[in-house]
Amino acid sequence: MTTEPSSRPHGFSRRRLIASAAAGGTGVVGAVAGFGVGRGGGADRAEAAPSRDLSGANGPVTEPFYAPHQAGIETPPQAHAHFLALTLKPGIKAAEVTRWLRLLTADAAALTQGSGPLADSEPELAHEPARLTVTFGFGPGLVELAGEKSVPKWLKPLEKFPIDDLDPERCTGDLLLQICGDDPLTLAHARRMLFKDSRNFAEVAWQRDGFRRSYGSQGEGQTQRNLFGQLDGTANPGPGSEDFARIIWGQGTRGADPVFSAHGEPPDNLGAHLPEWMRGGTTLVLRDIAMNLDTWDQADRPAREFATGRTLNTGAPLSGADEFDVPDFEAVDKRGLTKISAASHVARARDGFGPETQIHRRTFNYGTGAGEEAGLMFASFQADIDRQFLPIQRRLAEVDLLNEWTTPIGSTVWAIPPGIKEGEYIGQSLFEG
């Protein structure tokens, strides 16, 4: 069952395409492929009688702020996220931006550790950090204030994909704050404090609130589900793994006997192209993907699973039995047809790609109300957008049965600067490097 993904060219069946929903366009919604590192949880739970957590155990839990990498990337995803993109006001220069970044750094350092920052009028709202993280992303407009030469060539809007229907207002921003945590009240307060320290320097470009399962609903390490009911993120490299270090941070750990996923051994130099100021950082492609729940309702379960290439209940590839079974794109059913359609999402996203073509998706669902917008904030972290993200995205944009129900409406690209030591500010390596 656990075979390596095929590397030979693989044509897709016209018959299946016609027999199923129409294809075309882009969208990276759905499970990509399967392997598990650092998974677990949930196994012991079934035997215990359900009970409420009355201890408030998660409230005081903190994620470190001062670290070689920013938090909120390798951090196991929290239950809630605010994505807040800001646009610099006219006339803001490097001197103002560094003042701003110092303020925001001090705010984030305090809030994530459960303290109200300076001038916090409601410090009590900071006292249950519940794994709050604040992740800073820089857009080209901010980076170029440090000098045009500092702007990497990939830090620009992605190429246009055939079924993009982008809202220009969701494709802008000079600074991204990805604020994540398990407590929505703490999160709202953190956003308010960061906003108050931003309004002299910038205006809100766009924002989105996202959610996953609540803290405590499932054990750690469970793959989340999106609003289509699909398991979402099965193929992610596990936190702390050698794969994660190479695929996201762009550099191997140089530890002895590294273990790799079924994808194979990724190169250990994917981050070599990053400018010096980004060492310890990574890149983020953030796609706002609208999901059409009404037309998805029209697709019955077999059609949904056919389009995904996975079952909906366990997330197992249609060639396998378990979520983390490696998809077998050669396996055929009794009629002689491949069990996984070559046009399915999992086949398009995975079949034939080498081990460097992997990403870390840290997704959050959104829904603004009954009958209103629904979708997924698809945060894709990878060391090299050209080598890792774009090959997958281009192929999904070409053919992916899921494109029938998904439409990218926002798209931004961010440079994620490295983490810092106490006394430094986020972005110091850019402005004072």
């Binding site: 103002e96 003042r99 303020l103 300076l118 001038a119 009028s121 108050k196 002299n200």
Partner: protein, 177 residues
């Protein structure tokens, strides 16, 4: 007048730095304290210091005024180069149910080893007649002046803050709170 003095074990020195000039707070402690220089904590510090950003007019400085010595210290005033005047203020309820600030009668006394919290709606350092704007994120430098005329340089980070108004009366429609 409620003094709101608290004993603090360790202060996070986010923004408050003390100069390293030789200025022990009392003659008795001077010989020892001044001989150790770089690493010793100054007798009087303003920890977690911040100021309300302002373009003109008046503003205020807050923080944890900490007496790191074993003698009581009185704060008699403060100096800020880019303002006409600096006063020590307290905030009192007025007859209408609002709050208003007024100059403190007498000094702030910080007992040995304790600290006094300077905060909006309480005691604070009032800066009047700004000669130039204090911008958000800017670090300003002031000098604290004790009753025995010793000075302690401190810095404060300017924050965008819409409280700490000179007067606050409930129901004022046009004010920015």
């Amino acid at each position: 007048m409620r003094k709101n003095t608290t004993t603090q074990m360790a202060a996070l020195s986010v923004a408050a730095m003390i100069g390293l000039s030789a200025c022990g707070q009392t003659p008795a402690s001077e010989p020892e304290k001044t001989s150790q220089s770089q690493v010793s904590v100054e007798s009087l510090s303003l920890d977690n210091a911040w100021a309300k950003a302002a373009d003109e007019g008046m503003t205020a400085v807050f923080g944890e005024l900490k007496n790191n010595s074993d003698e009581d210290i009185t704060l008699a005033g403060a100096k800020y180069d880019d303002a006409d005047e600096v006063q020590l203020h307290e905030t009192l309820e007025d007859n209408s149910g609002g709050m208003s600030m007024q100059e403190k009668k007498g000094d702030f006394t910080i007992p040995a080893g304790e600290s006094l919290s300077l905060k909006p709606g309480g005691e604070h350092i009032m800066v009047m007649g700004l000669k130039k704007p204090i911008k958000p994120g800017e670090e300003i430098s002031l000098e604290l002046v004790t009753g025995d005329d010793q000075t302690f340089p401190v810095t404060a980070i300017a924050k965008d803050y819409s409280g700490a108004q000179e007067t606050y009366a409930p129901g004022e429609a046009d004010s920015d709170h």
